[in-house]
């Protein structure tokens, strides 16, 4: 402190800073003390934060960022939480995978776990094609009804999920409908007769003359899989052609397209991506959607 007394501006009564520009003097109205206190306190807190927490990016010689004394890492926290959750669930999950599928349905705790696990796993993995709640879509069978191509028991469903359909697994469910038109196995007019026959058998309007021509053609070319009564065969995944349930559609044009060159749809084998407990939970969830046998 020097001895001189500050200059007081006569108009406002406030002391000046002593600085002068072209006759204009600056008043000394300092920031409030509480404001300065909070400012310096913030500076101190910030320095403490740099030391304790990850703060500075890419300093030379450091990879990524400074780690901080506390070594706090959200990524590591999430990994630890996930591992802890798996650990918590492991007992029930192990039981879920160990006991046979149908006895899960008789156990209250296991079926509750399987249904909630299955619901979320279905949403993550299956609903993209089969729709929410197993609604189904064109080319992707509805799972909420009681029509099953490969069987609707728990064991059947679980095997389908595990190994897929026409997947790369050796034990996968597979069958191949011939491409009668594309491979020129049948001429176009015979395919049309077959279409009329299937239309008539599934309760739709059909040309009677073509139906008569179509019946022997069906028995020669199709009945080995779809059956003489057209009720299908689950061991080959051959659909029942007499009901109202169609994967791709039951109208004449779609039927013709199917016989000309079938799609032979593929479902991935989930054994490659999901653990046995999740596959089992999925099977129980799908079974519970309504059509389980």
């Amino acid at each position: 402190m020097t001895g001189h007394s500050p200059e007081i501006d006569p108009h406002t009564g406030v002391e000046t800073t002593g600085h002068e520009w072209d006759g204009i003097k600056e008043l000394n109205n300092p920031l409030p003390r509480w404001w300065r206190f909070i400012f310096w306190a913030s500076v101190v807190v910030a320095i403490g934060y740099w030391i304790l927490m990850p703060a500075w990016p890419a300093l030379p010689g450091l990879q990524g960022h400074t780690i901080g004394v506390l070594q706090q890492s959200d990524r590591a926290d999430v990994a630890a939480d996930t591992a802890a959750m798996r650990q918590d669930r492991s007992v029930l999950s192990a039981r879920l995978a160990a006991v046979d599928a149908s006895s899960i349905l008789r156990d209250h705790d296991l079926s509750q776990l399987a249904l909630s696990l299955g619901e979320s796993a279905f949403g993550d993995n299956c609903a993209t094609c089969h729709g929410a709640g197993g609604r189904g879509a064109k080319g992707f069978p509805r799972l909420a009804d009681d029509v099953w191509l490969w069987g609707g028991t728990l064991e059947d469903i679980e095997r389908t999920i595990r190994l897929g359909i026409r997947s790369n697994q050796t034990d996968t469910r597979t069958s191949e409908m011939p491409a009668f038109g594309r491979d020129e196995l049948l001429p176009q007019d015979q395919i049309n007769d077959l279409v009329q026959y299937v239309l008539q058998k599934s309760g739709q309007r059909a040309d009677p003359a073509a139906v008569v021509r179509g019946q022997p053609l069906f028995e020669t070319n199709c009945a080995s899989c779809h059956g003489v009564d057209l009720h299908g065969d689950r061991s080959k995944g051959a659909p029942n052609l007499t009901d109202k349930d169609w994967i791709y559609g039951g109208d004449a044009a779609t039927l013709r397209r199917t016989i000309y060159g079938p799609r032979n749809g593929v479902m991935p084998a989930w054994v490659e991506r999901l653990d046995p407990a999740t596959v089992r939970a999925l099977a129980i969830y799908v079974h519970s959607l309504g059509g389980g046998e």
């Binding site: 920031l31 008789r106 209250h108 705790d109 709640g133 909420a144 009804d145 109202k244 349930d245």
Partner: protein, 500 residues
């Protein structure tokens, strides 16, 4: 600190004359800033002081002891009488158990607190401020400690003026140490309401308690120490909104701590043996001022700062007895009566039956009745039936129509329960429950003690029983033949009967 900063930036102007708190000169800028004056309330004895001691022990006792009370709720349930269990999602209050979806009971409690404050304030002025407010109670407690270490008013003033010495040092250190201990006990007791008290007390000091417990214990330790130890009357005058609200709630018929000016004035010193004719009873001894925890003079009339604790009544009554005049020169009285006495009318007896009081009381009683009705008649079971949204209905191969639902059962009893499921309003429906396990031979759902369970409910109707339009149905849960819950739902059917 916070209160003294509002208009801090005006400091240094000539108006304040360097010495803060000095009155501004006539033509200078108006200075709104006033430096805080340290208040040294003197100990007083009397009726209202005794009431305050009693309430201090009662309220602090409840606060510190409540988390330690036990209440047996059976196995698996917390046995703490009062517990806000956030992790488990329950609020326990003795025999009451509030679930998160019943948060409206907490809302009701808040309404009761608000209306109760309105009622009491309109009736008796700021009794909350003067007797029950934590700020008042803890400040009183801190003052006890201050008196223990530093003595009463005059000794404390002397000590503060004295230069630092060993005597001053140990007294100040002792006071602040005990203050901090009390503050920590306050913050520590607060967190006990949110966790199992015994477990938390065991883990707290070995560093294994939840982080939130440490944060809130530290927070309340700091605020208790600062608010009750150092800030005191500044909290009531500057920080608290209640003094502003109260001015809208108080009217001329409210009982308030009042100096009866018509009897006291003109005031002045009085020598023993002098006549009392032609003068007031107030001898200007300033006892009412020195005992005031807010540092005001009640003789200036009703003031924002006054918390109406009644200590000035005790002080004045003591003096009046000593000089042989009637007591109650300062007393609980209404503005209306003061006015009437000035005009020479007789004072009216205090009557609580005024329209606003009756309305507040009615609202209060109505809320209590509604809550009591809700609490006594609330069901210990809840059920929700949520229809599958992705599929309105499923037509099965044989023509049957099926609807799927998610059925949720909430069991608020402390015992495992099993319920029969029936569906009304849907003739010929086959009811199927998935997720129960076991084989009861009929559709049942069960729920664990204090638990929530989800099931799938499938309703299937044969083509002959279809009615061709959507059906409003009821899902009914019954326990031992007695209906315990009913929920409405809808059964959807194909409109033409042959949709695929």
């Amino acid at each position: 600190m916070a209160s003294s900063t509002l208009i801090d930036l005006r400091k240094g102007r000539p108006g304040s004359g360097g010495g803060a708190g000095a009155p501004p000169p006539e033509d200078g800028p108006i200075v709104l800033y006033a430096r805080r004056k340290q208040i040294y309330p003197q100990l007083v004895f009397g009726t209202f002081r005794n009431i305050k001691w009693l309430l201090l022990f009662a309220t602090l006792g409840v606060y510190y002891v409540l988390p330690w009370l036990r209440w047996d709720r059976g196995p698996g349930a917390p046995d703490q009488a009062v517990l806000a269990d956030f992790a488990g999602g329950r609020f326990y209050f003795f025999g009451l158990e509030i679930w998160p979806q019943e948060v409206y009971y907490i809302t009701g409690l808040l309404i009761l607190a608000a209306v109760g404050l309105f009622l009491v304030t309109a009736l008796l002025g700021r009794v909350w401020c003067g007797y029950f407010c934590p700020q008042t109670v803890w400040t009183d407690l801190f003052l006890v400690v201050e008196r223990f270490f530093e003595g009463d008013r005059n000794a404390r003033m002397k000590l503060d003026k004295a230069t630092w010495s060993f005597n001053k040092l140990w007294r100040k250190t002792g006071k602040h140490t005990v203050w901090l201990l009390i503050a920590f006990a306050t913050g520590g007791a607060f967190v006990l309401y949110w966790h199992d008290a015994r477990l938390l007390a065991e883990t707290f000091f070995v560093g294994r308690a939840p982080m939130t417990a440490y944060v809130f214990a530290a927070l309340l330790t700091a605020t208790t120490y600062a608010l009750a130890g150092t800030m005191r009357e500044q909290v009531c005058t500057y920080m608290c909104p209640w003094p502003r609200i109260q001015s809208a709630l108080i009217d001329r018929d409210t009982l308030m701590v009042t100096y009866r000016s018509e009897r006291g004035d003109p005031r002045g010193a009085h020598k023993k043996g002098d006549t009392w004719e032609g003068r007031g009873d107030c001898v200007d001894c300033k006892q009412c001022v020195v005992v005031c925890p807010m540092g005001i003079d009640i003789r200036n009339g009703p003031q924002l700062e006054c918390i109406q604790c009644g200590l000035c009544i005790d002080a004045c009554d003591g003096v009046m007895k000593k000089i042989g005049r009637p007591t109650a020169l300062i007393a609980y009285d209404t503005d209306e009566n003061v006015l009437r006495r000035w005009k020479g009318f007789p004072a009216r007896n205090f009557s609580p039956f005024r329209p606003r009081i009756v309305v507040y009381a009615l609202v209060f009683c109505l809320t209590v009745a509604l809550m009591a009705f809700g609490l006594t008649t609330r069901s210990d079971i809840e059920m929700s039936v949520l229809k599958d949204r992705s599929l309105p209905f499923v037509q099965l191969a044989n023509g049957d129509v099926r609807n799927g639902y998610t059925l949720k059962v909430v069991n608020k009893q402390r015992a495992h329960r099993t319920f029969d499921v029936q569906v009304e309003g849907l003739a010929g429906a086959m009811v199927e429950i998935i997720g129960e396990g076991g084989d009861a031979g009929r559709p049942v759902v069960s729920a664990d003690a204090d638990g929530v369970e989800r099931y799938r409910l499938l309703l299937t109707v044969a083509p002959g029983d279809l009615r061709g339009s959507n059906a409003d149905i009821s899902v009914v849960l019954s326990e031992g033949g007695k209906t315990v819950a009913t929920t409405a739902a809808t059964f959807l059917e194909p409109e033409t009967g042959n949709a695929s």
